[in-house]
């Protein structure tokens, strides 16, 4: 059930995948010896596709994203973007991190305009573009505020807007909605989907929410717990464009149930593992 490159879904065009992950292994040196965070993972993503990655806590999702984002080296395997193997951060990739990554010394507007400032865009242009993306994530009126004055979920939306303003071809989002309540999550997820379809962006989303993954994705990569492998890749054959209403359809329920049963085993393995470690350490 491990490494397996998924064949393209039947409706796929013949275009080349924009992102290919081939046999990636990433180990960390820890005091208890080497720890395999990502183990022989392979999958590919086509242009404009929305792929979710789901798996129990600690299974290696964020580590996988660090590899894709070119932020860590020392891994085995290969990651290619449009046919080119990556070496370091690739200009086609934009990342939204799991932790709060807003700059506390910059206002919301200056946070979102940051990547544009780096690109050397004029102040007027970058502020105009930043305002557009701030409105997109529903933070109009907060442009002059500083991150310390915002809630965790609002800060996360600032990060999303900042990465969107960068207009990357491929967007990697590590649990961007983790700090949000279910309703806001649904609405913002819907928003992200609209943005993605508008901008024809390729999106990879890490999430803990099965229903969110089903609502948004073309495909879902389910990961195993320790070492993090591909357990299964599921095509979500729900009609597009999807609205929030899709959540109440019967097909939706079937997908959620299927993924839940896959995840349950992995999650309980993770829990047992954590409990065992606690026992041995105390």
């Amino acid at each position: 059930m491990s490494a397996k490159v998924m064949p393209f879904a039947p409706q796929a065009t013949m275009e080349m995948p924009i992102l290919v992950v081939e046999d990636v292994v990433k180990r960390f040196d820890t005091p208890e010896g080497p720890l395999t965070a990502v183990d022989h993972m392979s999958f590919s993503v086509r242009e404009g596709e929305f792929v979710s990655i789901i798996g129990p806590s600690g299974c290696g999702k964020s580590t996988l994203f660090s590899v894709l984002g070119g932020l860590v080296g020392g891994y085995e395997g290969k990651v290619t973007i449009e046919g080119q193997p990556i070496a370091g951060p690739h200009p086609a990739i934009g990342m939204v991190f799991q932790e709060d990554s807003t700059f506390p010394w910059r206002s919301v507007l200056d946070n979102v305009a940051f990547p544009l400032e780096i690109q050397g865009m004029s102040r007027a242009d970058r502020y105009a573009r930043a305002r557009h993306f701030i409105a997109m994530v529903g933070l109009e009126g907060f442009e002059k505020r500083f991150p310390a004055e915002l809630s965790g979920g609002m800060r996360q939306r600032v990060s999303i807007a900042r990465t969107l303003a960068f207009q990357p071809k491929i967007l990697l989002m590590d649990e961007p909605f983790g700090a949000l309540d279910e309703q806001t999550r649904l609405l913002l997820g819907d928003k992200v989907l609209q943005i993605q379809q508008q901008l024809r962006q390729t999106m990879l989303l890490i999430t803990h929410s099965i229903s969110e993954a089903v609502q948004l994705s073309d495909r879902i990569v389910v990961m195993t717990y320790r070492p993090g492998r591909v357990k299964r890749i599921i095509d979500i054959d729900l009609p597009r464009p999807r609205s929030i209403d899709v959540v109440s359809s019967e097909a939706f329920g079937r997908y959620v149930a299927a993924i839940w049963s896959d995840l349950r085993d992995e999650a309980s393995r993770g829990m047992n593992d954590a409990e065992a470690r606690q026992r041995s350490s105390s």
């Binding site: 984002g69 951060p89 934009g94 991190f97 206002s107 940051f114 990547p115 780096i118 500083f146």
Partner: protein, 254 residues
């Protein structure tokens, strides 16, 4: 913002009130002869001596001399301290080899080496500035290092994923993130620098307020001595206000 201003008044009032109260207590203690009049003048006497000291002892000139030396020492200390801190951050080997030494240097009573500086720089303001500069160097370097090492990895990753150049990564991410800690270093370093500047002025009997304190003390003009010390405090207050302003400009709202 209006709200913030309204809350700025009570701390100032409270601070002033505390100072006045402390002076009143000292005044009473001295008058009741709990503290000897021969050791300490009453705050009232000090206050009365201000006019005399300012008029007769060329205070404006001396004040500027001391403030200028502090400014020079502070500028050197900030620039070189930060450079040293950045070097310690960047070069692991350098850090492993010298961090303890730098920390030990911070505690060294550098002022005792003043004869050496006199030989090198002569009885000029440079002797004073260099001792002030060197005594503030270590805290700035160590706090810069601490600030840079403490920057959250997520912020560094943002910079890296937006493909910042190393210079951009430093000026747009690392430095602003470390500013609060670096400024703690500036404050500490400045305190050390000021103490040493005034101390060396006193010791070598040259320059601004330190020399004046020396002379007034020799003349046993106690109220005048304390009045002169007040001007040293004023230098310190002015520098702290300036530092706070710069920090707020670099890092608004934090």
């Amino acid at each position: 913002m209006r709200e913030a201003r309204r809350y700025r008044l009570p701390p100032i009032a409270f601070g002033l009130g505390t100072v006045i109260l402390a002076f009143a207590v000292i005044e009473v203690l001295i008058r009741a002869d709990v503290i000897s009049q021969y050791v300490m003048p009453t705050p009232w006497q000090v206050l009365l001596s201000f006019g005399r000291v300012v008029a007769e002892e060329d205070i404006p000139h001396r004040f500027l001399a001391t403030a200028g030396e502090c400014l020079a020492a502070g500028a050197l200390m900030s620039v070189f301290g930060m450079l040293l801190g950045v070097a310690l951050y960047r070069f692991r080997l350098l850090r492993a080899a010298t961090e303890t030494w730098v920390a030990a240097f911070a505690a060294a009573p550098l002022v005792l080496a003043y004869p050496l500086f006199l030989v090198i720089f002569g009885r000029t303001a440079w002797t004073i500035i260099m001792i002030g500069f060197l005594s503030g160097l270590a805290p700035v370097a160590l706090k810069t290092l601490e600030g840079l090492t403490g920057v959250r990895p997520a912020l560094l990753n943002v910079g890296r994923s937006f493909r910042l150049t190393p210079a951009q990564q430093f000026w747009k991410v690392l430095f602003p993130a470390a500013v609060p800690t670096i400024f703690v270093g500036f404050r500490l370093g400045f305190i050390f620098a000021l103490i040493n500047v005034v101390g060396v002025e006193f010791l070598i009997n040259f320059g601004g307020l330190g020399q004046l304190i020396n002379e007034l003390a020799e003349r046993y003009d106690l109220p005048g001595t304390y009045a002169a010390i007040t001007f040293v405090i004023l230098v310190s207050v002015l520098f702290f206000i300036a530092l706070e302003g710069i920090e707020r400009w670099l890092r608004p709202a934090s």
